[in-house]
Amino acid sequence: MRTVADLKIGEKGVIVSFSDELLSLKLLEMGCLPGTQVTMTHIAPFGDPIAVKVSGYVLSMRKDEASTIVVA
């Protein structure tokens, strides 16, 4: 299962589902909806956290949070 955490810088993916119910509400509210496209834009020093472009803005999250977002 590919998740946002697996994307390389510049790579895109389309959100399919979430594997963590508690986090998913926060992510949904922030505009990470199933069917939207995410682009990996930055990876912090030491590989964590990461930042993605989603719904037209840049959203940062930790790697383990990114790995709850399944993409295709």
């Binding site: 119910e21 508690l22 986090l23 998913s24 509400l25 926060k26 992510l27 949904l28 509210e29 922030m30 505009g31 909806l33 199933p34 496209q37 834009t41 930055h42 990876i43 912090a44 020093p45 030491f46 590989g47 964590d48 956290p49 930042a51 472009k53 719904s55 037209g56 803005y57 840049v58 959203l59 940062s60 999250m61 930790r62 949070e65």
Partner: protein, 706 residues
């Protein structure tokens, strides 16, 4: 229309609510380009039309009506409770036009709560820069509300907003009774029956958030729990479903009203993208951050030196002038050597504090602060903190009180508590005068590191780093002790960079500097007077005895030498001297004598009085000659009676610096910790652990350097 309608500014974090608040009311609420600047509500007045003055309520930002942190909870406590004194007659939802869809989610929720709403489209300029054009007429029609385009920062479009607000206030508002989500009507009826009549959406909000809503007592909460059980209600599921279906509706509306040029796949390369390539870079990111900090401390020490010299000379001149013109008396001495020298001791640091505040507000206003959170999160997490702890830690360099308040945006209680506990270890601006005086005494002025950086500036930078290092070390220890396994998250918007407004920065600089001088000034004046009395009088006839003693012991001494000896003996016999003497055995191992003991006592409640106390003590304690008018010169002239060498050598200087770096000497901070944690336990722990840390570290430093 009501005489003075209450209007709440509601919107996502960083949408520009506080900027709009400032433009409407003329007040100066703090703004900054990162999510989570405003932590509490603030009320101001706005003239709607002749005769009607609206009450404007600025609030912390929220992403939805389901709060995830303490600052967000403040807003929901108001919105969920129509009986709340701050419950608004109307809401202006401030939306960031460059991020319309996400901002409209909250808008649709607020409208469904039955609050008459106007949509203020802010940051149109930012949207245009990334190629977004919005048809706001169409948007108004689709959403069935008044829409006003504004630029909150520059105060453009306020008349349009006023019109929209007036129109909305005059209309009878029809709340939207078809919610975009399914629920059982029987459940709603039961809630209304038990908890009072309300609209459906309020009832659902109560049901899913009742545990955190202030308006309900324990019994009522249990009642909600029972209802949830009876109907198999799952709040998180409901909220997720609601969010998805709201977005489905909004998607269509936004797609029809928004035009993106060029197409989404190849967005315009903005300044933000370019800058982030460097600022968020794996290696250069840290490099830039350290560089900025280093520049800041060099500026504080070297650039500020010129205006400081001017002030210093001015104060010395004033003192001399007063002494020459006024008749000689004890009271004049109190005025010149105590009060004016003490206040001068603070005023002289104003240039440094201005530079410090300037750098911090530039970090906040440009948007760089959230980049620091981003690159520091991993490091911080290792020590039990959170990327968001960076904001309190950095603003703690100015003052711990607002810094501790800013922890409210940290979602996890454990992360927040640890941040609160360690923030006072960051060197605040009240420590700056102490550091500066002591560094000037023990670090040679002319020396440089690698021929470019002044060694004094490096020493100051070192002290700040030490404070930071100790803060994260303590955080790590707390993390191990607390062992809390609470989940923390770091889902945060990185806003685009924005140019700071020169005028705003100047005004906020002026305000914070004024606050610093007056707050510190008040305490210094009060404590100086008390100290002067305590140092001029002694128990019984101790003062006469002191004079007698000196005269009999030194029968040959005359003139100024005799006067100085008497003054020194008198200070020692005074009340203040007694207190210092009581403390002396305890602080001897740190290299301090009873005079420094007096300073420790007076700065127990507020460390900024250290310099003032020093100036009072050394002016009363003899050696009053014309050249030693400034505190620093007096301290430089002080001789250690045991060794015959200057008192303030490297060992004592650094021991004192370390002590003041770590000691908890600030009542206001303790009070703030109490307020934010709602328990006396945490301020007590803070006081004990920081004082112990200060004592032990100063002891080690003194014994090593001695």
């Amino acid at each position: 229309m009501k005489k003075s309608p209450k209007i709440a500014l509601i919107g996502n974090p960083n949408a520009g609510k506080s900027s709009l608040f400032n433009s409407l009311t003329g007040l100066r609420q703090k703004t900054g380009n990162f999510p989570g600047v405003t932590m509490d509500k603030l009320i101001g007045k706005w003239n709607l039309e002749t005769g009607t003055e609206a009450e404007i309520l600025d609030l912390p930002g929220i992403y939805s009506i389901y709060p995830k942190s303490v600052d967000e909870q403040v807003v929901i406590n108001i919105l969920a409770n129509p009986q709340h004194p701050d419950y608004p007659d109307m809401a202006i939802v401030v939306a960031d036009a460059s991020n319309l869809k996400r901002n409209l989610l909250l808008f649709s929720q607020v409208r469904d709560l039955g609050i008459p709403t106007v949509l203020a489209l802010n940051m149109i300029d930012v949207a245009e820069n990334s190629g977004i054009v919005i048809n706001s007429f169409k948007l108004a029609k689709e959403l069935n509300v008044e829409v006003a385009e504004v630029n909150a920062k520059k105060g453009i479009g306020l008349n349009g907003l006023r019109l929209a607000v007036n129109k909305t206030l005059e209309q009878r508002f029809n709340s939207n009774d078809s919610l975009p989500v399914e629920y059982s009507p029987e459940l709603i009826d039961e809630i209304k029956e038990k908890y009072g009549d309300t609209d459906d959406y309020h009832a659902l909000l109560w049901l899913s958030e009742h545990d955190n809503l202030k308006q309900f007592d324990t019994e009522q909460r249990v009642g909600f729990d029972k209802l949830q059980e009876k109907y198999g209600w799952n709040s998180k599921k409901f909220q997720a479903q609601e969010t998805v279906s709201r977005y489905a509706v909004l998607n269509e509306i936004v797609d029809g009203c928004l035009h993106q040029i060029p197409v989404e796949d190849e967005p315009v390369k903005t300044w933000t993208d370019r800058l982030d390539k460097v600022f968020l870079h794996q290696f250069w990111g840290y490099f830039v951050f350290l560089g900025i900090l280093f520049l800041m401390f060099q500026a504080v020490f070297t650039w500020a030196a010129y205006p400081q010299d001017l002030i210093d000379n001015g104060v010395a001149w004033l003192n001399q002038y007063l002494k020459d013109t006024l008749p000689e008396s004890q009271l004049v001495n109190l005025l010149t050597d105590g009060l004016i020298a003490g206040i001068g001791g603070v005023v002289v640091f104003v240039p440094q504090i201005v530079f410090l505040f300037l750098f911090i507000s530039l970090l906040e206003e440009t948007g760089y602060m959230s980049r620091v959170m981003f690159i520091m999160d991993k490091l911080m997490r290792r020590f039990g903190l959170n990327g968001k702890s960076v904001v309190p830690l950095i603003s703690g360099v100015a003052c711990a009180v607002p810094a501790i308040m800013s922890t409210r945006s940290i979602g996890s209680w454990k992360d927040r508590l640890i941040t609160i506990m360690v923030t006072p270890l960051m060197s605040c601006s009240a420590r700056l005068p102490i550091y500066t005086v002591l560094i000037a005494l023990v670090v040679p002025e002319k020396s440089t590191l690698f021929g470019i950086f002044s060694l004094q500036g490096v020493a100051l930078f070192g002290l700040y780093l030490l404070g930071f290092g100790m803060a994260i070390l303590s955080a790590w220890i707390l993390k191990v002790v607390l062992k809390a396994k609470e989940r923390s998250y770091f889902i945060m918007e990185l806003p685009s960079y924005k140019g700071p407004r020169f005028k705003h920065i100047m005004i906020s600089l002026l305000n914070s500097t004024k606050a610093f001088v007056f707050e510190a000034g008040k305490i210094i004046v009060a404590i100086s007077i008390v100290l002067w009395v305590m140092a001029s009088y002694g128990p019984g006839n101790a003062m006469q005895e002191a004079e007698q003693k000196v005269k009999t012991e030194n029968p040959t001494l005359t003139g100024a030498d005799l006067e100085n000896k008497i003054a020194a003996q008198k200070l020692e016999s005074s009340y203040a001297g007694h207190f210092g003497k009581v403390l002396e055995p305890a602080i001897k191992p740190l290299g301090y004598d009873w005079k420094i003991g007096i300073a420790l006592l007076t700065s127990f409640a507020a460390r900024e009085v250290f310099v003032g106390t020093m100036s009072t003590i050394y002016s009363l304690g003899g050696e009053v000659d014309d050249e030693n008018t400034t505190v620093m010169n007096r301290m430089r002239a002080e001789i250690n009676p045991e060794t015959g060498k200057p008192m303030y050598d490297a060992a004592l200087g650094f021991s004192l610096m370390i002590f003041y770096a770590f000691a908890m000497q600030c009542m206001s901070t303790l009070a703030t910790t109490y307020r934010e944690t709602k328990s006396w336990r945490y301020p007590a722990i803070q006081l004990v652990y920081m004082t112990t840390l200060a004592y032990l570290s100063a002891f080690i430093v003194y014994q090593l350097l001695k």
